[in-house]
Symmetry: D2
Subunit: 356 residues, 4 copies
């Protein structure tokens, strides 16, 4: 090994300066910050009220047209902890999208995967690779990685839906690709075709089986709700959760997003719990509150809130409630990073969140 260069006989400060000049940083100055004993999320727990979101979405509908310049009328839920980045957590994009009667959002595709969860409205469909998927409240529609998609409101009332994307994660991996479709809208080959092709456990024999995303693109609320009833009845519990999965392999419907619906009976609550990874909760139905790391968040229908990584959370339903939850859990699981724990005692409430 070469001898130590004499010219480096400088004191410690000079040495640190020499490191910086060579694009190097000493670990010993930053290790507590980058290797904390447990996560110190920048993501803050936060809540957006529907009473705020809806009028702003409607106002956007009046002020902003959808055309090839803008493409989508979307209000991104920006976590105040993330220094102005338009993300709801460090891994999840959450937003509300507004589509007025007669409008269409033009066709494009991108590597970030997306889900649409309908909050209000009727008469809209999203066309995904030629399959027009009808949207009614509570329905989930997937627009997986690199699938063409456009949205058409053929009804007489506006629709508002929740957009969930893995965009922050894909952006951080510097792997975002985007492409406009040659025409404004795709031709429609089928209507709710994926749903008709994937029954309860029966699948066409002529399909490729190894796709990472679900070939089933629409998960209607009408069926989800019946299933949640059956699950509550079968288990005799007060709370139950289902996953939206790929019927070909049982994995999450998208590889980058966990998608769940939790039903809580009136008056019931969930056990205190924390897990690695963040979640965005859309209150589809009901009212109640959640305690997140000791802070109380009151919610009612269509409010949206975010739970940071490793935050302790309990949900309490004052009315029978359905919570639609988008997470980064499949990513953490497949990388061996997921961990979770239930806590024995309910949290002490030390404050109440005041929405802006």
């Amino acid at each position: 090994m070469a001898k130590i260069a004499d010219t480096l006989q400088v004191d410690y400060d000079e040495f640190c300066g020499a490191l910086a000049a060579k694009d190097l940083q000493p670990l010993w100055k930053i290790n507590k910050q980058i290797m904390p004993q447990q996560p110190h999320p920048k993501t803050l727990p936060w809540l957006w009220n529907w009473s705020t979101l809806l009028p702003l979405a409607q106002r956007a509908g009046e002020l902003i047209t959808i055309d090839r310049g803008g493409d989508r009328r979307v209000l991104a839920l920006c976590n105040p902890g993330l220094n102005g980045m338009p993300y709801t957590s460090t891994t999840l994009w959450g937003a509300v999208q507004y589509l007025a009667p007669g409008e269409s959002a033009p066709a494009h595709r991108h590597t970030p995967g997306a889900i649409r969860f309908v909050m209000e409205g009727e008469g809209v469909w999203t066309t995904v690779n030629g399959d027009a998927c009808d949207m009614t409240p509570g329905d989930l529609v997937l627009t997986p990685n690199w699938h063409w998609h456009d949205h058409t409101n053929a009804g007489d009332q506006p629709m508002v839906w929740f957009d969930g994307l893995d965009l922050p994660l894909v952006g951080w991996m510097e792997s975002v690709f985007f492409e406009l479709y040659p025409d404004n809208l795709q031709p429609i080959d089928a209507r709710n075709g994926s749903e008709r092709l994937y029954g309860r456990g029966t699948v066409p024999t002529d399909r490729e089986e190894q796709s990472l995303h679900s070939p089933l693109l629409r998960y209607p609320y009408s069926e989800v709700s019946l299933q949640l009833d059956a699950m509550l009845e079968e288990t005799g519990l007060e709370v139950t959760t289902l996953n939206y999965v790929n019927p070909i392999n049982g994995h999450s419907a998208l590889p980058t997003l966990g998608l769940e619906m939790t039903r809580i009976r009136e008056g019931a609550s969930t056990r205190p719990y924390r897990k690695a990874g963040s979640s965005i909760v859309v209150v589809f139905r009901g009212a109640g509150h959640s305690v997140i790391d000791g802070q109380r968040f009151d919610w009612s229908e269509h409010d949206i809130f975010v739970i940071p990584s490793w935050a302790t959370v309990e949900h309490v339903a004052s009315e029978s409630s359905d919570l639609f939850v988008t997470t980064d859990r499949p990513v953490l699981q497949v990388l061996g990073l997921f961990r979770e724990e239930y806590l024995e005692h309910p949290q002490k409430v030390t404050g109440t969140f005041e929405p802006r």
Copy 2:
């Protein structure tokens, strides 16, 4: 290496005798038989007419009671090529089972996996590990490996269903276990519960995911039929096939049995085809004929026929037909033994099968 024993200085015939005396056989005398260039199945193509099966099943209903001695009123379809063994092919057991109004077949379980495909009747359920699965014509009900099951006819007419089992294969592996339930019937915990718990792509979060058999136990014909319509429409073809799969992993609903429904439009036919492994075909609906290795088999509703390994087969539907097919394909696939090929030209018909 030891020297050659002088006492073995015998001629070839004596040598072969010496081998036999020591429980050895010379490969060179049997290699053409045990290693043929392509399969020479003992399984013969064969057909059982419904017009024969039904009266015999009814007569069995008059003559044979179901009790703890007998357990099941089952007529096994015995392939004449198998030297009296009660099997339909070397890997598959096929049979018809008859259950009169008011009867119950008592609860038991066994390692061979079974399926029940309803041919005629109403008002019956099969209880599988406590879940009462209703049976109407065309429905498929699973009773997987080592699951308790009993059958109850609470209606006012007899039911006849097709039983498909992997019994020959499990028997050959000397791995059959069997157990009687302590009581005559299981208590019923749910009715069609598995069906209510597994929607289209949504699954409970609290279940074990790694089971080799499907948690969904009932596949109603009403849904299967709609899906076949959608598949014919989407592809624009004359023939389509769906698989009955495990909604948790997309594999065959049972690991030992392939389960398919093929719909053929009136006047259409399938391409000549052969594959490793055997199949039992139940004609659920329709009429037509199949050509198997040059022999014509005419069939109509509820007839049952068997196709041997590597036999070339074409189906021709004179009426719109639904063929329910049970195979050993998942076993061959998972062991790397499956092979198949389509042939270019229709077969020449060299004879017609005459049912006994």
Copy 3:
């Protein structure tokens, strides 16, 4: 449902005759036999002594030439319980093969998968799809499903190896295909190539990953023996077992055969144990005895014995011993049929096996 035919008003015996005439069998007459409470194997526990096998193999070497007619000089171990079928158990073929100096066994391929485990001799290689795999005592060489293989003895002494095949199982599935290579021997592309291409956890990036059989074709005893030493040392136990696996996916090296080596220290014994599925044990090194369902089987170097399904077995080593074991376990596991249990107490010995 049609009415019962009056012409069937016959008594029970006539009815059974009517069934037989129509290729049907009543389950109630055979159910105890085909659905026993636990396996009643036809496979008998049996042992072939090396002192018998070797002279007969040598004698076969004198009497039988290897040519395109015969192909292989193989003595099959025929279980006396199997009615003359040339199989060691209902799923496994075991045999000894003898190749004299200067001889070659010509190239062919077949769908049954095979393994070769060298018992005695040097200077031989098996060429598998062009890769010449050297064979020395204790080495395992694979000839997977549908791989070309030939054997060449370029040394000056005969070799005897153990052949293990899944032939009974594949035969029962009526899926045996066989093909002669156009020439007597394959050209050799590499020597021990697969071994050089698959290091300890490092693999070429340009290979297909999904094969059901191992791309590694040779497992030398020299490495196996060192690993067994390390395993005994690390665990501090008296008995240890390793599996021969596919380095690409960790599954058994062949999908149809389980392949294991068990080392037992001098004076040690294994716990009483039984499992579904059968095993052929080649005593590679050492001496001792096994108790199988109460019967004592004494063994020494190069003896071969078979353990039936669900038989209780204990091995006792009077010298340090290496047992090479071939099983059907991967098949049972992948079909959900595998079960095993350890028993608390050593078996009572009720008799001793006397080799013929």
Copy 4:
């Protein structure tokens, strides 16, 4: 749907202000930035010369002691494009670590997974969960997610190794956990134990099979080098690459890091290529240059450089060279985000990188 609030009759600028006040951002102002047509990485291609790194590492050895405060003497390679964050790319941490004779780096564990690739020195081991893994130049040692690890230099010369971690990714997922071991060093249970327990395709039967990281912890260069020779010989090519994999399942040795060694013969070059995801290249042996998006980077032994996502790259070896490459590829693949392409023509060189 509720009526639009009259109080929101403001113009567009006021509207945008209202959004910001409510933690919302309009997508139409940021969509081109967050959804570019192809990745616009912040990660810059960059190179650190060994002639710079080594003296600074040596100087750190003189100035900085290793104790419980600092733990590790590490110089992080900080990409100048990342605004001062101590990361080599947005997903990868690269660094050099210096351990003087007689020193030990104390035991800890963390959820980020790490690899150590030895550049210079002898006489060091890393103890991973009790298994002391010897380190010599070119060896790869894993310290997987949440495994205890400490480093001990028992030799008489300093060691420098390359550290590769998934820390940026895990940090972005807000899932970093860290824990100090109760003592300074772990007790040593085995020496190179994992290596002795995992032969070429033979594995202990008593291990859990489903771990996401490799049970094999050490991949010695001596074996890697022989395998690269065999691969070059077998393929007849000028360039070859092997992966470091988990011998239990053939996946990458760590789920979050791709680990490869590429050997390029003297005078040979690689085809122009680009892929999603970034790479850090350690020049273990040889000399040459790489062209990255038209810019030439000259390198010789022990230099380190980084390749951003979707950058086109060619390597040209003026001497026979071994490049050890750490990537995020397994993450992109498992999420369905990996894409790659080969380009037809060599790049035009438009500039040369001048190291600072």
